[in-house]
């Protein structure tokens, strides 16, 4: 059996579990007496241990096992939860996250050893000085079977003859009817490849069906473990076969007779635990997962592409239908249109993920930050259920982290300063997400010091981002905009968190790459609010098709303010820039044809021009075009890697007649 095919599932599920662990730990910290949370943490650790054990990641297995011991001690009231224990548990979480990350990147567990963390976990237990737990500590791994002196000699011999020794735990299906018959089959199969030298319970007991859902055997073999595993798991009603390699280097514990009783006892209680939590785990999963299917994002992308194709052909049919004036045809096309629209919505919904996925990691981050900076900070989050396209979700995390860090590092004042200003000692950072029409808005707001306009202005001048003269002409909004310029950083001291001068400009670029916008509101002394507005979907948008010369271009509808006719006499030239007065504002003119080097585009000799007024944040500009072709639903396609980095073009789309039209990136032209 190739373990690689399960690796992805393993990684994804582990990440999900760790996310849950993170939340549980946070709530354990605020509510250390909550047994439910504790059980939840225990369950996650246990599940992770099982999964990692099956996949052969021993580092994770060992650590989670030790976590279980500690958690169990807490649960039994032997150890009390305090902040240092929670810290250690958080460290475990970090280690696990790291390991899973490494596995995802290079298939290997993290190189850093878990020993230190395991030792500190041990420390918790040792303080208690309970011998029983100490023994459990040495019992590492998820296949439990003790070897006696005789067995051990056998193992040594086998290993010397370069054979492999495994402990093999066979788990039967819960509803298995003829357990002893299945066990017999297992024995028979194993004996084809290996020699069984020990079984637990004893072979006679197994034959008499005197065992629970599982039994363990020790085998010596020359065959690869995967082969035997495959053979075993092809027997029906066998849920899984867990192998654990026995190494010479591993110290095989020798049980003296006096210990024997003790061991079985603890084993019994462990397996009882296992069963109980195994069931709980499954139960928990059922309620959480509901009837869901895990689907590769590539398949969804493919589905989306097909729907896009369908929309293109629908647009084409619409043209044919109108031309033919055949009533039946027109009706059929209308029906098709309804269906494609519904299909599009349905596929979009499938791709939507709640923003919770991104928000999840923030409580921990804020906790750590507030400790590091010794500022009291409360994080409030609302609208976690707001849904966004998966691609947007993947991209939005980093910018949000940045904004939250900024808010905490630069925004929120120290406790004393807050007290002096009659504010609550704890700073408040609010994270809000909500849908607003065809877009989703995410707000990051703090009740901190606010943006000091004067300071920003001076800093910008000092850094050479703007000249003194230009700065004086700017209004408040314009100055706040300076924050988004590359190389800007207001923090007096460069901290680990922010203030390295890469910052808001990166945030802005990221958001704009997603067709979104960032806005800032701030009141000095009362706090600031960053507002991110993102489109619901990236793949299909409404656009206005325009012509310039004999070329066709698409302008996204959401950036268009209005469409005007401009008389040539109204055009003025200021500082080499053509402008026109519109609704009392000066509107710069962009000659689209000229900007895009179109050969036979409108020149400036006409009497009247068609202008598409486009907005970019607070700014507007009039794009002069030759003709308007109408509004259409278009599917955005990228120009591909070969043409990446082309300015002024945001992508391409395919029109009903099969021709390609380019989508104008209006932001870059204003």
């Amino acid at each position: 059996m190739d373990i690689n095919q399960y690796l992805e599932v393993f990684i994804e599920e582990s990440q999900e579990h760790l996310q849950g662990l993170n939340q549980s730990l946070l709530s354990l910290e605020t509510n250390p007496k909550d047994i439910k949370t504790l059980n939840e943490i225990f369950r996650v650790a246990h599940t992770l241990k099982g999964m990692a054990g099956t996949m052969g990641f021993t580092g994770i297995t060992n650590l989670t096992h030790q976590m279980e011991n500690v958690l169990d001690a807490i649960r039994l009231g032997k150890v009390e939860v305090n902040s240092s224990i929670v810290d250690i548990l958080f460290k475990c979480l970090d280690y696990l996250e790291n390991s899973i990350g490494n596995i995802a990147n290079c298939g290997q567990e993290s190189n850093g050893s878990a020993d230190a963390i395991i030792a500190s976990l041990n420390g918790i237990l040792l303080k208690k000085g309970d011998a029983e737990v100490k023994k459990a500590v040495t019992d590492i791994g998820n296949v439990r079977m003790k070897f006696n002196q005789y067995d051990e000699n056998l193992v040594r011999k086998a290993l010397q003859q370069s054979m492999e020794v495994y402990k093999l735990r066979v788990v039967l299906a819960e509803d298995c009817m003829l357990k002893s018959a299945r066990a017999f089959l297992v024995f028979q199969t194993v004996e084809r490849y290996a020699e069984i030298f020990k079984a637990e319970p004893k072979v006679e007991d197994i034959e008499d069906e005197k065992f629970g859902n599982e039994f363990t055997i020790a085998i010596i073999t020359k065959e690869p473990e995967t082969l035997i595993k495959k053979e075993l798991e092809s027997i029906s009603e066998i849920r899984e076969a867990i192998f654990e390699k026995v190494e010479l280097s591993e110290e095989i514990p020798i049980d003296s007779d006096s210990l024997d009783e003790d061991v079985t006892e603890s084993k019994e209680s462990e397996s009882y635990n296992e069963e109980k939590y195994g069931l709980e785990a499954m139960h928990g999963k059922k309620t959480k997962m509901g009837k869901t299917v895990r689907v590769d994002i590539d398949r969804l992308d493919n589905l989306m592409n097909l729907v896009s194709e369908l929309i293109i052909i629908k647009t084409r049919l619409e043209g044919v239908g109108t031309d033919s004036r055949n009533q039946d045809m027109i009706e059929a096309v209308e029906y098709l249109e309804r269906i494609t629209t519904n299909l599009h919505d349905a596929v979009m919904k499938v791709r939507m993920v709640p923003i919770e996925r991104v928000f999840n990691r923030f409580p921990r981050m804020v906790r750590d930050l507030s400790r590091d900076l010794s500022k009291g900070i409360t994080l409030s989050m609302t609208g976690e259920e707001t849904e966004l396209d998966r691609t947007v979700i993947d991209e939005i995390g980093d910018p949000l982290i940045h904004l939250i860090r900024n808010a905490i590092d630069h925004g929120i004042e120290g406790k004393e300063e807050r007290m002096q200003n009659n504010k609550k000692p704890n700073g408040l950072v609010s994270l809000r997400a909500y849908q607003d029409g065809n877009s989703v808005v995410i707000e990051v707001e703090d009740d901190g010091i606010g943006i000091d306009i004067l300071k920003v202005k001076n800093k910008a001048i000092e850094r050479g981002i703007i000249s003194q003269g230009d700065a004086n002409e700017l209004d408040e909004k314009g100055i706040i905009e300076l924050l988004f310029k590359p190389g800007f950083s207001t923090s007096d001291k460069v901290s680990d968190l922010s203030g390295r001068g890469v910052g808001l400009d990166v945030v802005k670029n990221r958001i704009e790459a997603l067709n979104g916008i960032v806005e800032v509101e701030s009141k000095k002394g009362e706090g600031s609010k960053f507002l991110i507005r993102l489109p619901l979907t990236l793949a299909i948008i409404q656009a206005l098709l325009v012509t310039t010369g004999d070329e066709k271009y698409a302008i996204p509808l959401n950036v268009i303010r209005d469409i005007n006719t401009i008389e040539s006499s109204a055009i003025r030239n200021v500082h080499g820039q053509d402008v026109v007065l519109n609704r009392g504002n000066v509107l710069p003119i962009v000659w689209l044809g000229k900007m895009l080097d179109v050969h036979n585009a409108t020149n400036d000799k006409n009497e009247e021009y068609t202008a598409v007024v486009v907005k970019k944040g607070e700014k507007n500009a009039a794009f002069i075009v030759d003709g308007l072709m109408g509004q259409q639903e278009i599917v955005i396609k990228t120009l591909g890697k070969f043409l990446s980095g082309i300015k002024n073009i945001a992508g391409a789309t395919i029109l009903g007649d099969g021709q390609v039209a380019l989508i104008i990136d209006t932001n870059s032209l204003i």
Binding site: L639, F642, L643, G658, V660
Partner: protein, 144 residues
């Protein structure tokens, strides 16, 4: 044939009276000339983009890329769709109509000054009877 020799198939095309070959494994398909949408501000040898069954694919004018004199489009003009890793592009050529098998023995290193093409895009000259075929290093053309 000597030991170690192998044959490879090449798609043959013409540009300005010379014959060129591309490794057939790189060629996805050969299309007749179709409507090309110009892309403003793209490199000078990029003629534009085409719609290949719903995918937008850039098209390179090989004559311009190689610095050959501009040719006239005819009914024989073809677009050869090639792909290297995740990059797919079309190449405009004068004509393309055959596939030839060439043994590695009859491929020689390009002598200086063959054809009018920049040397770095050539990895060898294939001899097929009397014909000399310039074998293109397509990876280099696309990734540069």
């Amino acid at each position: 044939m000597k030991a170690g020799a192998y044959t490879k198939q090449f798609v043959i095309f013409r540009l300005d009276n010379e014959e060129y070959g591309i490794d057939i494994l790189r060629v996805k398909e050969i299309k007749e000339m179709m409507g090309i949408t110009r892309v403003p501000k793209a490199a000078h040898f990029v003629r534009g983009v085409i719609n290949l069954r719903g995918e937008v694919i850039p098209v390179i004018d090989l004559r311009v890329k190689f610095g050959l004199p501009e040719g006239k489009e005819s009914e024989n003009t073809r677009i050869i769709i090639v792909s290297v890793d995740d990059i797919t592009v079309g190449l405009i050529v004068d004509t393309s109509s055959e596939v030839i098998e060439i043994s590695s023995e009859s491929i020689e290193e390009a002598p200086d000054g063959v054809g009018n093409v920049d040397q770095s895009y050539i990895y060898g000259i294939g001899k097929v009877g009397e014909r000399l075929i310039i074998l293109m290093d397509i990876v280099k053309i696309l990734t540069e």
